[in-house]
């Protein structure tokens, strides 16, 4: 796991360089992916994730910088010479071939015996639940099935790197959770190195060991799903990662009689014993009286005490409950794993523990602290 399989060094991508329509799609991207690691490139459309993927695959020229795969410089090689397998967002299945032939086609270059090919195809077909459509043609199967075939064709190849572009967007919702589990098991069992590109954080969280969050061509944070959630590097990542999104409030910090006080809108204050925060953090906070605080919906505790809030919605989804309440001049969302019976209009108390507090610099958006310690 320690050796870097893929290494992107100071990679830039410009479209229409020199013209008025110049777009700096990827900006100085440094990223190393270890052997056997699954990495997700996550971001909204236009963030540069697809450009990055296409540069790794060789469909797009690298404007500046270099890419190494398995110890070779690959950024000047033709796509076919890079030893990269790819599942395309648009599936790109060969229409005149059956599903079976489409998948087997990926094994052509490996000159395997016929029955070995058949066995491997059968195995991947079972994994992806496409056994019943193996003899059909791509045009006669559903979008979800086509996407699974495309995935199968990429996964079956042995390659230094597997690239999966929005691999599960069209999958039938009922299959998603199961296939995520199976595909992760498949990749891990074989020790494949994979990069998936997605705008869906659920997918990235489920599959990836590490996630690279991109926005406007810049890598915002590259970390494990747990760290992205617990230690977001900036307000963008903090608000972007997490479903439902993080609750965010502007606050003024002051010190009052041995307690650290955050003044929110609407006259609401949160105050904590000073010793819940490290000395260095306290100093930093008091130097920047204007901050933005964030609290994840799961960390919002509903109690009898604490700051008052008025329930505006209570929605039970079967396995969890989403509660919205008017709070601090805005709204706060809380998520409970059980069903709760609060009625609309009811007044509750909201408690936010200091350990669940994320504090960001309002102007730069950079994280100042997570819990009681400096970020």
């Amino acid at each position: 796991m320690s050796k870097a399989m893929l290494n992107l060094q100071a990679v830039d991508k410009f479209y229409n360089p020199g013209s008025v329509h110049e777009v700096h799609a990827v900006q100085g991207l440094d990223m190393a992916v270890a052997e056997g690691e699954i990495v997700a490139l996550l971001g909204s459309s236009g963030c540069g994730k697809t450009s990055t993927l296409r540069m790794i695959a060789g469909f797009e020229e690298v404007s500046k910088g270099s890419i190494q795969l398995a110890g070779r410089d690959i950024h000047r090689l033709a796509p076919a010479k890079r030893n990269v397998a790819m599942a395309f967002e648009g599936y790109s299945l060969y229409p005149p071939l059956t599903v079976q032939e489409n998948i087997a086609f990926a094994l052509k270059s490996q000159s395997l015996a016929k029955d070995a090919v058949a066995r491997q195809v059968a195995e991947i077909a079972q994994l992806l639940e496409i056994e019943e459509v193996l003899e059909r043609y791509p045009s006669s199967i559903s979008g979800g099935q086509q996407q699974r075939v495309s995935l199968g064709r990429a996964l079956i190849r042995s390659a230094d790197l597997h690239l999966l572009d929005e691999p599960m967007g069209q999958l039938e919702p009922q299959l998603r959770a199961l296939l995520r589990g199976r595909i992760k098991h498949f990749i891990k069992e074989r020790g494949l190195t994979a990069i998936l590109v997605t705008h869906d954080q659920t997918e990235a969280n489920a599959l990836a060991d590490r996630i690279a969050v991109m926005e406007e061509g810049v890598l915002q944070q590259f970390d494990t799903p747990a760290n992205l959630k617990n230690r977001p590097a900036n307000l963008f990542t903090g608000a972007f990662i997490g479903e439902p999104p993080m609750n965010v409030f502007d606050a003024e910090v002051r010190s009052e009689a041995g307690r650290l006080v955050f003044g929110l809108g609407g006259g609401v204050t949160l105050d904590y014993a000073e010793n819940e925060f490290s000395l260095a953090l306290r100093a930093a906070l008091l130097k920047k009286p204007q901050v933005t605080i964030g609290v994840r919906p799961h960390a919002v505790r509903i109690t009898d005490e604490g700051a008052k809030a008025e329930i505006t919605a209570n929605q039970w989804l079967g396995d969890q409950t989403h509660i919205a309440a008017r709070f601090a001049g805005g709204a706060i969302v809380s998520v409970e794993h059980d069903r709760t019976r609060y009625a609309k209009g009811e007044t509750i108390g909201v408690a936010l523990a200091s350990e669940d507090l994320h504090v960001f610099d309002t102007r730069s958006g950079m994280a100042i602290s997570h819990g009681g310690a400096l970020a």
Binding site: R176, G181, R182, N205, A206, A313, Q315, G318, D319, K344
Partner: protein
């Protein structure tokens, strides 16, 4: 606000029956969700109610008045479309005002009415923009504002959150109930997202193949789904489905998973010896140290929002998904044992795919107590 009654509605296109004798009633002021996969007939049903499509058979009544022959403009209905259907050559203001101009309101009243609904939906600052200058979220709010502007008695919402991103969808999901309650309208809301259905519906009508497969409260649908298909549609991750044959002994009704006993509701005696499907929701399963637990092999752990979903296989290669709140301890790999919370187990007949409801002595159904 009147009740809306659909009676035996049937619609065919060429030789295909899209709606097949659909009947249901939406009580006044209530929100009923039409839920179903694409092609189930939801949108056609909505269009029949709006008057954009003429059904072959059946009746639609609003507050007891048959509106089957009333043209759409006189049905007193407000509708929001999935693709927004904003008039591209008009400003947001004129879009929202269109139901009011039709009612020949005075200029001042229109101005007032539009501004009021725009404020409610937080789009007051974009009223002078044409639709192409609006963000997706603003378009969606403009479309909703247009539907609400004339305070219609019946409100039809055709998957209004389908084309907005996850964050906005979540925001609107929390905001909509208040908006709808303020209007007091009788609402039919079409969606393919079970979470929206559960969150917004007083009742949910599940449409399948042009028929109503089940209608009930969110709790009915989630806890007592009528069929395997409905159980599969509600819940993410999807419910685990395992082929079983229930047995019975002195200890009551039970079934076996990997030779371990899983107790079932005592009212399920009728199912003993039959080929059944056992439905276990991922959150009704948990890892356990008990020697009575079912031994499994852990295949993969996939974090899922604030939960962690684990894929395990039993000795007989049956795959099971288990979910637990994120951050709670559990074995990450290797072998483990799992335990079933039998109160949440569902049992379906394997041949008909329909749910077998527990029958308890002492008369009547025990369902209501569940």
């Amino acid at each position: 606000m009147p009740e809306l009654r659909i009676e035996n509605l049937t619609k065919r296109f060429k030789n295909e029956t899209v709606l097949d004798g659909v009947s249901f009633t939406v009580a006044e002021g209530e929100t009923t969700i039409l839920f179903g996969p694409s092609g189930a007939g939801k949108t056609v049903l909505l269009r029949c109610i709006a008057g954009a499509v003429d059904p072959e058979e059946g009746r639609i009544t609003i507050g007891g008045n048959d509106i089957s022959d009333v043209p759409p403009e006189h049905r007193g209905i407000g509708m929001a479309f999935q693709n927004f259907a904003l008039f591209p050559h008009m400003t947001a203001f004129d879009n929202i005002a269109s139901p009011l101009t039709a009612r020949r309101w005075s200029r001042e009243k229109i101005q007032e009415g539009v501004e009021q609904v725009a404020k409610l939906l937080k789009i007051g600052h974009v009223l002078s923009h044409p639709p192409r200058a609006l963000s997706n979220g603003q378009k969606q709010r403009t479309a909703l504002a247009r539907a609400l502007a004339a305070s219609p008695e019946i409100l039809l919402l055709d998957d209004p959150l389908r084309n907005v991103d996850a964050k906005l969808r979540f925001e609107m999901r929390l905001e909509l109930p208040r908006l709808l309650a303020d209007q007091g309208a009788t609402v039919i809301y079409v969606t393919q997202d079970y979470k929206e259905a559960m969150a917004l519906g007083d009742r949910i009508a599940v449409l399948s193949g042009g028929r109503i497969a089940q209608i009930g409260t969110p709790e009915d649908i989630y806890r007592r789904p009528a069929s395997v298909e409905i159980a599969r549609h509600f819940g993410d991750p999807t419910i685990n489905l395992l082929d079983v044959v229930p047995e019975k002994d002195g200890g009551g009704v039970f079934t076996r998973l990997s030779d371990q006993r899983v107790p079932l509701d005592s009212g399920l005696e009728a199912a003993v010896g039959r080929d059944c499907v056992l439905g276990l929701r991922p959150e009704a399963l948990r890892f356990s140290d008990s020697p009575d637990g079912i031994p499994v092999e852990i295949e993969a752990e996939t974090p899922f929002n604030e939960k962690t979903v684990t894929l395990v296989v039993t000795a007989r290669k049956r795959e099971i998904l288990i979910s637990r709140p994120a951050g709670t301890a559990a074995p990450g790999s290797g072998t483990a044992r799992i335990e079933v919370d039998a109160t949440d187990a569902l049992l379906f007949d394997r041949a008909t795919q329909e749910r077998i409801a527990p029958q308890h002595r002492g008369g009547g159904k025990s369902e209501a107590a569940a």
